[in-house]
Subunit: 320 residues, 2 copies
C-alpha cells in the first residue's frame, strides 16, 4: 500500500511516500481501505515533534479515517466487509491514517453516516469527537445557556457552533469579518470581529453585561486568563489547546468558574452520537480544501499558515 | 451592643471595640444574639485589605454566626424567637459577625444542630459550607474515589477529611508529622509529611502509580501547577485559595483534568446538609483554640502565623 511517512520530526517537507505491505487485522480488529483522511493542528504538532516521546520513528501519522471494511479479524462482531466506516485511530498507538489501508480495533470504529461523503466523514471524526467530549461530556452544555466559541470558522469551531445550536444554546463566536456570514449560516447568533474589537467588551455588550455560561477555547494565547472576564457565576471554560504559557487565574475564584482541559479520547459511542445529529440535518462538516495523499505536506503547510483563508477543514483524498 | 470594628485596613491591631445600637430586623430578616463566631483566612484577608473594593469602612467583619434568634422581621416564616441558629453572613454585604447582634435574611440561616455547641457551630459554618460546595456540589466526589486533601489539620482540611470519608472516598492528606495521629483520628487513610517528602512521589506510591481522582487545594503556592502529576485521567482539582501567581497548566490536557475554583456561596440548604452529617455522628468540627471577642486581634495574629500549632479552628466566644 502507499503511505506517507516521516523519518524525522520537522517541517511539512518531512513526509515521503513509501510502499509498505498491507497490514492484517488481528483479534478484534478490522482492516479498512482508507478513502479519505483529514488534517488537524494535532497532526502538524505531531509532525514537528511536540509529542516526540510518544511517537516512535519512522511513523505513519494521521488521526481521521473514512473508508470501507475490507476484512475482519477473529472475534469481530460489529462489522462485516463492505461496511462504510469512520473513526479516529488511537492517538499515540499504532499506525495513523495517512495510508491506503489501516487496521483498528472494532471498539473505536463507527458506521459512517450515509449523509456524509468519505471526505466529509474524515473531516468530522476527530474534531467532532473533540467537540462532543468538550461541550457535552465535560461541560454539559444546557439548553438555554450561552456559549462563546473562539475561532468559529475553524476546524473545531465550525463544528462547535453547530453542536451548541443543536443543544439549544445561544452562540457567540469570534471570527475575521470575512467569515461572519459563513458562521452565521452555521447558526452563530452573534459574530465578534476579534481583529477590530476587544472580545471581552463585545461579549459583555451582547449579553447585557452578564457574560456567558461556557467558553470554548480553540485558540490558546491568553484565553484561559481572560475567560473569567466574560463568564457568569459558575461559568465553565473548556480548552482543547494545550499551552505552556503560565496563566494568571486569579479572577476565576470570584466567578466560581470551572476549567476543563480536553485531550480527545475515542470511542464508538461518540461517533454514533455525532451520526445522529448528521442524519437529522443538524450537523455537517465543511470541507474548505481537498488535497491528494501525495500532497499531504502541502496541506500541512496550508493549515499551519495563520491566514490561510480556510473555512472548516482540509480533507485528504486517499483514492486520488 | 459591643462590636469589633476596623476603621482602616491593616494588621491584627486594626480592631477596636465600640458600642453601637442594636440592629433591627427588616422584611424577611432575623435578629440574632451572637453567642459565637470564628475566624478564617478570609477574615484576615478582608482585614488587611485584599478585598477593599468590596468592603466600605468602617466595617464590622466576620463570617460565622452561631446564636439565638431574639426577634424576627415582617414576613419571616422559618424561625421564631428562641431558635438556636447558625450561618455565614452574606460575604461583602452588610454587617459581619464580630458583634453581639447580627441581622440576616432568613434564607441563609439554618437551625443549629443540637449536637454542636455554639462555639463548634460557629467553627463549622463557613468552612463546612465551603467544603460542601467544593467536594459535593462542584466536583461531585463519588463513593470509591480517592482524594488528596492538602493541609488536612487545618480549618478547611479537617472538615474535608470527614466529609470525604462520609462520602465513601479514600483520603490521603498532607500534614506536619506531629498532626498525623490527629488527622487519622478524623478518618484520613494515608498521611503525607510534606516537610519530609515530596507529596507527588508519596501520592503515586500510595496509589500504585495511578494517582487520585480529586485534589482539594487549601494551600495555594504551586498546587494548581503540580496537581496533574498526581491525577488519574479525568481527575478534578478544586481550589478554595485564590492566588495571583501565574500557573503553568500544560500537564492538565493530557490528564483530561478539570479545575474548579470556589468562592463560597451561602444558603440554608447547605447548612441543613451539614447538619445531617453532624447529627449522624459523621462530622464534628475541632476547636483548637478559643478567644473572647475583645481579643479578636490576637486570634487573627495567631491564625496568620505559619506554624501556629493549631488543629482545626479558632472559635470566638462572644458572650465572654
Amino acid at each position: 500500500m502507499r503511505a506517507m511517512i516521516i523519518e524525522s520530526f520537522g517541517g511539512p517537507e518531512s513526509f515521503s511516500e513509501v510502499v509498505l505491505p498491507k497490514p492484517e487485522p488481528g483479534e478484534g480488529q478490522v482492516l479498512v481501505k482508507v478513502h479519505a483522511t483529514s488534517i488537524n493542528p494535532l497532526d502538524y504538532q505531531v509532525r514537528r515533534g511536540d509529542y516526540k516521546e510518544y511517537v516512535p520513528l519512522p511513523a505513519i501519522t494521521g488521526h481521521d479515517v473514512s473508508g470501507v471494511i475490507e476484512a475482519i479479524g477473529p472475534g469481530v462482531t460489529a462489522f462485516k466487509p463492505g461496511d462504510e466506516v469512520w473513526y479516529t485511530p488511537e492517538i499515540f498507538a499504532g499506525q495513523g491514517s495517512y495510508a491506503e489501508y489501516h487496521v483498528a480495533h472494532e471498539s473505536i470504529v463507527g458506521l459512517k453516516p450515509d449523509a456524509l461523503s468519505h471526505l466529509e466523514a474524515a473531516a468530522l471524526s476527530l474534531v467532532g469527537g473533540t467537540v462532543w467530549e468538550a461541550l457535552i461530556t465535560r461541560v454539559n452544555l444546557q439548553v438555554g445557556e450561552t456559549i462563546l466559541v473562539h475561532g468559529g470558522a475553524g476546524g473545531v469551531g465550525h463544528i462547535a457552533i453547530q453542536i451548541a445550536k443543536a443543544a439549544g444554546a445561544r452562540v457567540l463566536t469570534t471570527v475575521s469579518s470575512h467569515n461572519a456570514e459563513f458562521v452565521k449560516s452555521l447558526g452563530a447568533d452573534v459574530t465578534i470581529d476579534y481583529k477590530q474589537t476587544d472580545y471581552v467588551e463585545a461579549v459583555l455588550e451582547a449579553t447585557d453585561g452578564k457574560g456567558v455560561n461556557v467558553v470554548l477555547d480553540t485558540v490558546g494565547g491568553d484565553t484561559l486568563e481572560r475567560s473569567p472576564l466574560v463568564l457568569e457565576q459558575l461559568g465553565r471554560v473548556v480548552s482543547i489547546v494545550d499551552i505552556a504559557t503560565p496563566q494568571n487565574l486569579v479572577e476565576a475564584w470570584g466567578r466560581n468558574a470551572s476549567y476543563h482541559f480536553v485531550f480527545t479520547r475515542q470511542n464508538r459511542g461518540k461517533l454514533d452520537d455525532l451520526s445522529r445529529l448528521v442524519e437529522r440535518g443538524l450537523l455537517k462538516p465543511v470541507v474548505g480544501a481537498t488535497y491528494p495523499l501525495s500532497e499531504i505536506g502541502l496541506a500541512h503547510a496550508r493549515l499551519e499558515q495563520k491566514s490561510n483563508g480556510l473555512r472548516g477543514k482540509i480533507a485528504i483524498d486517499v483514492t486520488a
